[in-house]
């Protein structure tokens, strides 16, 4: 699979913050904590944090990037970062339509 394809797939997909993850703002960006696997992940740029927070309300990652004001020439590296976050289950692909029930308990703080 070429990098381009993977990048496009990432950018075209709808994502959301994983329900087991909480973000704590830090001066450099944020610290993400996964309550399930007890991992800490550092988001080292504020723009990335803004993108991640915006994913749930955006039809796809491209839109979230545009809304966060990330210049298009940086989208490739942001797509790679998003893939890293997906691998760590910080973000998850969002289920289309038939959404999960709203009364979840996983989302902390």
């Amino acid at each position: 699979m070429s990098t381009d394809t993977l990048e496009d797939q990432t950018l075209d997909a709808a994502w959301e913050l994983s329900r087991s993850v909480a973000l704590r703002p830090e001066s450099f960006g944020a610290l993400a904590y996964h309550f399930g696997n007890r991992r800490l992940i550092f988001l080292k740029r504020r723009e990335l944090v803004e993108v991640v927070r915006g994913l749930g309300d955006a039809p796809d990652a491209r839109t979230a990037l545009r809304r966060a004001g990330v210049p298009a020439e940086q989208w490739a590296s942001f797509a790679a970062a998003l893939r890293g976050l997906a691998d760590a289950d910080v973000i998850r692909p969002r289920q289309p339509a038939a959404e999960q029930p709203a009364g979840e308990q996983g989302e902390p703080g």
Partner: protein
């Protein structure tokens, strides 16, 4: 105190964007990522090296309500995880209540125990909860070696707790070992005990804190043992946790997984049973007391505004170490180890791989600071202060069978504890 090297400068400027993560950590975070909370100084045991000199309950111990309000504050600060210890935390009558309270407030708990209260029923309860991790202390892979340090019957107690956890289906308990001159030859056996219980081995450094000051000279591993330990750790890789304890050994070769940073007051701190906040669990001394949660306006206030923490978050000079080729990875080692052996804080660690620590320890001017808090049992159980007489046969071919796989991403582990195994740096 020689910590003050430059005027205070808090708040990060926009030009500091490219700063590496470790440098960010040196400046301190909005809240600790490695918070230890000792719930009580009371303990059923009297381990000779106890870092908090525990034994008797302090009459000023925080009440249940005060503990709950600390948990509320930790939740608000988004401290996702605390390492609960003591003393023996499970002897507090409200321990199980506080455990549940914390978990219900999105504060995950790992608690350290000598195993005294982990019976079959508790083990089943623990196996049924999420967000609770159990760490059982064991300082010898055999009863003879363990009980010499932790007291008669303590090996059987720890193993019974581990057996109960295994039987109950609790997964991935931690077995915490303080590495000493007498158990450093048993690392493979410790690993086997952990594997047999589906547990993870966690090794930590013996520091001369609390009662550890009394026994450090005779119990800390020799220079040759340090080298063997380092090599064992390199072979074990990430299968064995260290809480970043051994970064002072990095000069033996390449750096070990971890932050290689003294996190005290920056990403690490300790809340003690009376609400005092110290820079790290190994620095229970007036010099490193940042404030009190009850009298100084709460934990967040102390964390953010303590003058001591402000100084610890400024760039530290390397002093006598700055010329050393290993300074980048070793940073002069552990502040607590230096302080409690009476060495200058900006000089080499007492266990410096270059041997400078040994020279510094030989200085006749050196004075060791007195404990500012001691909760030891007044009538010490027989044998407590007796010298460690046991001599173990050495095993020349202590080969490690497991081939460590290369880690996909380095774990960042704050020094004293390790909530961060599996850390992935995201861009």
């Amino acid at each position: 105190m020689t910590l003050l090297t430059e005027p205070a400068s808090t708040g990060l400027a926009a030009t500091e964007r490219a700063m590496p993560l470790v440098a960010r950590f040196e400046r301190g975070l909005a809240a600790p990522i490695c918070l230890t909370w000792e719930l009580t100084y009371a303990c059923n045991l009297s381990c000779v090296h106890c870092l908090s000199a525990s034994g008797r309950r302090d009459p000023r111990e925080l009440s249940t309500e005060q503990c709950e309000s600390i948990i509320d504050e930790l939740q608000a600060m988004q401290v996702f995880y605390v390492n609960v210890g003591g003393g023996e935390p499970t002897v507090r009558p409200d321990f199980w209540h506080l455990l549940e309270y914390a978990v219900n407030h999105q504060v995950g708990v790992k608690f350290s125990t000598n195993g005294v209260r982990i019976d079959a029923a508790r083990a089943r309860y623990l196996a049924s909860t999420d967000y609770v991790d159990v760490q059982v202390s064991l300082d010898g892979a055999t009863a003879a070696v363990n009980d010499q340090v932790r007291g008669e019957g303590s090996y059987a107690m720890a193993l019974r707790a581990l057996d109960n956890l295994t039987t109950a289906g609790f997964r991935d308990a931690k077995i915490s070992v303080v590495v000493t001159r007498h158990n450093v030859d048993q690392l493979d056996e410790f690993k086997r005990i952990a594997d047999d219980h589906g547990a993870t081995l966690r090794l930590t450094r013996l520091r001369p804190s609390g009662r550890g000051a009394d026994v450090w000279d005779e119990l800390h591993p020799t220079h040759d043992q340090q080298r063997d330990l380092y090599e064992w750790l390199v072979r074990a890789g990430e299968k064995v946790l260290t809480g970043d304890s051994f970064f002072h050994l990095a000069g033996f070769g390449e750096k070990l997984p971890g932050l290689n940073l003294c996190g005290a007051g920056r990403v690490v701190c300790l809340i003690d049973p009376v609400g005092d906040v110290y820079a790290c669990p190994f620095t229970i001394h007036e010099t490193f007391r940042a404030g009190n949660i009850v009298t100084d306006g709460g934990f967040a206030q102390v964390w953010r505004t303590s003058e001591l923490f402000g100084r610890l978050r400024e760039p530290q000079g390397g002093g006598a170490c700055s010329a050393c080729q290993h300074y980048d990875v070793c940073r002069g080692g552990c502040m607590a180890a230096k302080f409690f052996t009476g060495l200058p804080l900006d000089g080499p660690d007492p266990e410096c791989v270059q041997g400078y620590g040994q020279a510094a320890l030989a200085d006749p001017q050196r004075t060791v600071p007195a404990l500012s808090l001691d909760h030891s049992h007044r009538r010490e159980p027989a044998g407590r202060r007796e010298p460690v007489l046991l001599q173990l046969g050495t095993r020349p071919d202590a080969a490690t069978p497991a081939a460590p796989a290369a880690p996909a991403a380095p774990p960042v582990s704050a020094c004293a504890e390790n909530p961060l195994a599996g850390f992935t740096p995201a861009r």
